[in-house]
Symmetry: C2
Subunit: 217 residues, 2 copies
């Protein structure tokens, strides 16, 4: 029974790591679609989201099966409950990438983002993607110190978001209302992806230590 549980848990955590990989691709491709006004890439992210949903359902079924059949306690229980929550957050991160891709698609054949603000968006996307990669590693290694570090780096995203507001609300803004609204919403989507990464990192701290680390996030 013990071996079975450990194997199943390791399978579930492995699946979470794969979903991180899928989310990373979604963030990356959605951003490319956005910056290049590429409808094929945008459609790829939008239709590809189904695979993340399917993977999420599988993790949920396995985790609930483990609760039913094995009635875990203590750290084992924390791990299964955390897996259920992390997979919900990963699915949301996929949905947020779809929102980015949809803004890209809506503006084709134009590019939603004016040249001047492309670097800010590119930087936000890089930070978001990097956080997704790191959180995959944090899940794989149950790495508490990397989780705490990730929480601290969330400030970088907050800074970028503030910078984007300064740009779009400045008197020099010459790109009109539509581009400003796109930029504000895109900033929100990338910020939420980062927030979810931080939240997943917090759950790993909880899995390993049984404590909610207040330094994270």
């Amino acid at each position: 029974m013990r071996d079975t549980f450990d194997e199943q848990l390791s399978q579930v955590f492995g699946d979470l790591v794969s979903i991180c990989g899928m989310v990373q691709v979604a963030v990356n491709v959605a951003t490319q679609a956005l910056l290049e006004g590429d409808i094929t890439l945008a459609e790829e992210v939008i239709s590809g989201d189904r695979a993340i949903d399917v993977a999420r359902e599988e993790v949920e079924e396995n985790a609930i099966g483990m609760l039913t059949l094995q009635a875990p306690v203590a750290r084992d229980l924390r791990s299964v409950v955390a897996a259920l929550r992390m997979v919900t957050e990963l699915e949301r991160m996929g949905d947020l990438s779809v929102h980015v891709a949809k803004i890209a698609r809506m503006r084709v054949p134009n590019i939603a983002i004016p040249d001047e603000v492309a670097p800010t968006i590119r930087k936000m996307a890089e930070v978001a993607e990097d956080m997704v990669v790191r959180v995959g590693q944090i899940i794989a290694d149950r790495d508490v110190s990397a989780a705490i570090e990730l929480g601290r780096d969330d400030e970088i995203m907050d800074g970028l978001r503030r910078a984007s507001f300064v740009e779009l609300l400045s008197d020099d803004w010459s790109h009109g209302v539509e581009a400003a609204v796109d930029l504000a919403l895109l900033g929100r989507y990338y910020e939420r992806i980062a927030d979810h990464a931080v939240s997943i990192a917090q759950r790993i701290v909880f899995v390993v230590t049984g404590e909610t680390d207040k330094r994270v996030g």
Copy 2:
């Protein structure tokens, strides 16, 4: 043991219903703060969010305690797992009300919303608040048919959101970039509150029937 479990579950679901009440107040007061440019009301929502967080922690502890001590199966397990998820969504709905209140606070002594679009915002807020009230009742009564109905009404919010985009992207828009961005983000926040209500309704369908009802949401 059986009696204890039922009592505890009914306590947890009762707590979820109270949190719905707190969220309803948050949505209502945040909207009032927004439409009246009232900083006291805005601060009330922002500081009041702590109470929702505390209530969420309590539900989580109780639910995890039930999983540990009682190792429920079948519908009982579904109920406890669903409670853990619903409380996360309710907390997010509180956070989204805080976002609305923060936009209100940022623009004081001005009002973030131009008079012409106040009716759209008011309507979005009403729909969101109504959905929160109904989802509280759906949790209290484990009411599957009301849950399915709530999922259908989500379209009303989508329609309002589209209407707000038509307003802010029209050539007649004369309120500048800042008001447009505020309106776009506010629309997003109310829409997410509604999305979470629909998602909670779906979880109640799952608790009662064991099936994910595809007609919801």
